[in-house]
Amino acid sequence: MPIIEFKKVEKYYGKFHALKNINLQVEKGEVVVVIGPSGSGKSTLIRTINGLEEIEEGQLLVNGYDLADKKTDLNQIRKDVGMVFQHFNLYDNKTVLENIMLAPKLVLKRDEKENKETALKLLESVGVSDKTESYPKQLSGGQKQRVAIARSLAMKPKALLFDEPTSALDPEMIDDVLNVMKEIAKEGMTMVVVTHEMGFAREVADRVVFMDKGEILEDAHADEFFEAPKEERAKQFLSKIIKH
């Protein structure tokens, strides 16, 4: 059974048709990269998976919960599906360590000692263990994003969503973040990644989903997609992106 499954999902912002007839499955352990021009609905798509955006029609099953059902407890889904944002969204009033320990403490009731050990281990694995007592504003963008990834991992999620995780970073910081993401992918995490990093997509993704104007135009194995995209618009998009 797929861990994430879209069935004929429709989403509107007022009259604007943001997602059109989305059908998509993500299996456990898969890395799916979503690409497409800006305004194509990539972010909207990924934000429906943890209920940050509601859907109007169709069915969206995540880890057995139905997001179309108003009675579904979104917190249950968010416990198991972490998200990493373009602008990090670290808690500005908390230190790095507190950022990571807060949700496990409040939501999972993890005991203090175990919580701290887990947090320190994660910070080490993302390479910011020297910043535990710093506040987000004292960190570089790359460090912030790595802390944000550690914060998501601390919940021991079944899947992780990445919404343009490197788009707000200075070029020299991007690799640090991508390397951390590659490590996570290697460990078998289910990942849905909205990104413009084609190198990452080619290297790490099992599948590439190409979106335009709210529709999924192509859903293919990464190799196939980059070798020979079937859709004309996907070809144009790739040629534009790879030029520079």
Partner: protein, 212 residues
């Protein structure tokens, strides 16, 4: 002025004590009530948002004296007996809470929406996110306007004089009408208000600097 203190020190001290007591009680409860209605105003539930709006608009736009008199005259007559101090303090609390609600709401809305989103995506409930992440940041923004509200609250507590609340203003009125020494009496009363408000004002400024 010195002679007023010498001859009526006891009454003035009682008044000062009541003014401080009323202010502390009203400050505590108006902060809680005001913050609660501020949260109402940013809730996803439309019903609660409307309730919050109505509360704030009603108490913000009726004169404090009317609210005080309502609790002093109307409420004891039909609902529940209470003395002037209680009536005045309740009126002051409700009145001030509507201003605090507006101030805190503005503070909440000044916090980047990514903070709430990050917390929700991290698994926190709306209230957990509010309490641990958004409100602490919102209060930092609103310390200066909140300080103004606190100072206004102390000064507005003089409404107790109209409902026999035995506060500083009430005692001043009594002394003035007994001695006819209005000049010195009201100067003395003014000085005593400054003794409360000036340190408060400096403390708020200190907090603002410390948290900035």
């Amino acid at each position: 002025m010195i002679s007023v203190f010498q001859q009526h020190g006891q009454e003035l001290l009682t008044g000062l004590g009541n003014t401080i007591l009323c202010s502390v009680i009203a400050l505590f409860f108006s902060l809680i009530i005001g913050s609660t209605f501020a949260i109402f105003e940013v809730l996803p539930s439309k019903l609660l948002r409307v309730i919050g709006r109505i509360y704030i608009e009603v108490f913000r736009n009726i004169p404090l004296l009317v609210i005080g008199m309502f609790f002093y005259v109307v409420v004891p007559q039909y609902v529940l007996p209470m003395d002037g101090f209680t009536a005045g303090t309740i009126g002051l609390t409700l009145y001030t809470s509507s201003f605090i609600a507006e101030t805190v709401r503005a503070g909440i809305q000044a916090v980047d929406s990514g903070q709430m989103e990050g917390a929700r995506a991290n698994g926190l409930s709306f209230m957990q996110a509010m309490w641990h992440i958004v409100l602490p940041q919102a209060f930092k923004y609103v310390i200066p306007p909140l300080g103004n509200q606190f100072i206004n609250l102390v000064k507005n507590s003089s409404v107790l004089a109209f409902v026999a609340g035995f506060d500083l203003m009430y005692q001043g009125d009594m002394i003035a009408s007994a001695t006819f020494d209005t000049f010195n009496t009201y100067i003395a009363v003014g000085v005593l208000y400054l003794i409360i408000t000036l340190p408060l004002s400096y403390y708020m400024r200190y907090l603002e600097k410390k948290l900035a």
